[in-house]
C-alpha cells in the first residue's frame, strides 16, 4: 500500500495578514509534487505548517487517512529548510549516523564527496553542504520529504544529479518540492500546485502559471 499525505484547512497569519488561507495539498508515495508561487506567497509557510514548526491557526493533516498533529512526528515527514540545518560544529559523518542512514547509499550516489564526511558543517562550501543535506533528507527514514529550495547553491551538474536521485527516491517516499528554478521543478514533478492568494491551485499546464502571475511567458 502506498503512503498518502493530505493536508487541508491550513490557515496561517502573521500580524493579522493572512499568508495561507484554507490551503489543501496532497502528496502520494511514488510521486514528486511541485509547489510554485511568487515570493511571499506562503509556500515555505505552508510546508512548515504541515511539518510542524511555527504557529498555524488551523490545520488538518492526515497520513494514510489517520489524523496526525504534526508532520514531523512518527517519521511521517522530514524537511529540508531553505537554510542549512546541520549544526555548524557537527561532522557530516555524525549527522548521517544520527539519522541512521546506510552509509552505502551515500557512497553509491556521492563517492566523489566521501572526503567531506569527516569535515564539520561549517568547513564545507554552501553548495557541498546543501547537497549533503539534501541526501540526508532524501535517504532518512520518513514517508515523505519536503524540499524547500533544494537547488539553491547547487551547480547545474549537481542539480542534475540531485534530480536523478530524487527520481530514484520517489519510489520509496513522496516528495514535495518548492524552488524558484521552476523549469527544474516542472520537469521533475508529477503534479504541480501554485500558491495563489494564500491558496493552493492545482496546475495542469505550465501556461496556467502565466494566469496566476508566476511567470510572464513560457
Amino acid at each position: 500500500m502506498k503512503n498518502i499525505l493530505e493536508a487541508d484547512s491550513i490557515i496561517v497569519s502573521f500580524d493579522q495578514r493572512v499568508v495561507v488561507s484554507n490551503a489543501y495539498i496532497r502528496c502520494d508515495q511514488g510521486e514528486i509534487v511541485g509547489l510554485l508561487g511568487r515570493n511571499g506567497s506562503g509556500k515555505s509557510t505552508l510546508l512548515k505548517a504541515i511539518f510542524g514548526i511555527g504557529a498555524s491557526e488551523n490545520k488538518s493533516i492526515r497520513v494514510n487517512g489517520s489524523w496526525v498533529a504534526n508532520g514531523y512526528s512518527a517519521s511521517n515527514v522530514n524537511m529540508l529548510p531553505q537554510f542549512n540545518m546541520i549544526p555548524s560544529n557537527m561532522t557530516i559523518r555524525t549527522a548521517i549516523r544520527l539519522f541512521d542512514i546506510d552509509m552505502g547509499k551515500i557512497k553509491t550516489v556521492a563517492d566523489d564527496k566521501l572526503f567531506l564526511l569527516d569535515q564539520r558543517a561549517n568547513e564545507l562550501s554552501g553548495g557541498e553542504l546543501r547537497f549533503i543535506e539534501l541526501l540526508i533528507v532524501l535517504f532518512s527514514k520518513s514517508r515523505f520529504s519536503f524540499l524547500d529550495e533544494p537547488f539553491s547553491g547547487l551547480s547545474p551538474v549537481m542539480t542534475e544529479r540531485a534530480l536523478e536521485i530524487m527520481n530514484d527516491v520517489k519510489n520509496e517516499k513522496g516528495l514535495l518540492i518548492t524552488d524558484h528554478m521552476y523549469k527544474y521543478v516542472t520537469e521533475c514533478s508529477d503534479r504541480l500546485y501554485c500558491m495563489y492568494s494564500g491558496r493552493t491551485v492545482e496546475v495542469n499546464d505550465t501556461s496556467e502559471l502565466i494566469r496566476y502571475g508566476y511567470i510572464n511567458h513560457e
Partner: protein, 96 residues
C-alpha cells in the same frame, strides 16, 4: 545520544555559568545561598533557550527531522544541564 548532541548546542556557555556557580558554592555558608545559585542557573538557562529559539532556528529543524519536537528539545537540554548542575553543586557543598 540525540539528546546529548542537542545539549552540546548550549554546553559551553551553560557550563561556564555552572563552573562560576560551583566555585561560589564552595564558599557558601548556608543552603539559601545554594538556592540563590540554583535560581541564577535557571535564569541563565531561560536566556540560553531563548537564544536558540530566536537565533538558532536551523538547529530546531535538524532535531525535528530526528523526531524531536521543539518543546521536547528545550526540555531535554534543560533537564541534562540542570541535572549535571545539581549533582555537582551538591557534591561541592557537601565536601565544603
Amino acid at each position: 545520544m540525540k539528546f546529548l548532541h542537542a545539549y552540546r548546542t548550549i554546553a559551553l556557555p551553560a557550563n561556564i555559568v555552572s563552573v562560576i556557580a560551583w566555585i561560589a558554592a564552595k564558599d557558601a555558608e548556608s543552603s539559601s545561598e545554594i538556592f540563590t545559585l540554583f535560581w541564577m542557573k535557571v535564569f541563565t538557562e531561560i536566556v540560553l533557550i531563548g537564544f536558540i529559539h530566536l537565533f538558532n532556528k536551523h538547529v530546531i529543524f535538524f532535531y525535528m527531522n530526528l523526531g524531536i519536537g521543539e518543546r521536547q528539545l528545550y526540555k531535554s537540554i534543560v533537564a541534562i544541564d540542570l541535572a549535571i548542575f545539581v549533582v555537582v553543586i551538591a557534591i561541592v557543598y557537601w565536601i565544603a
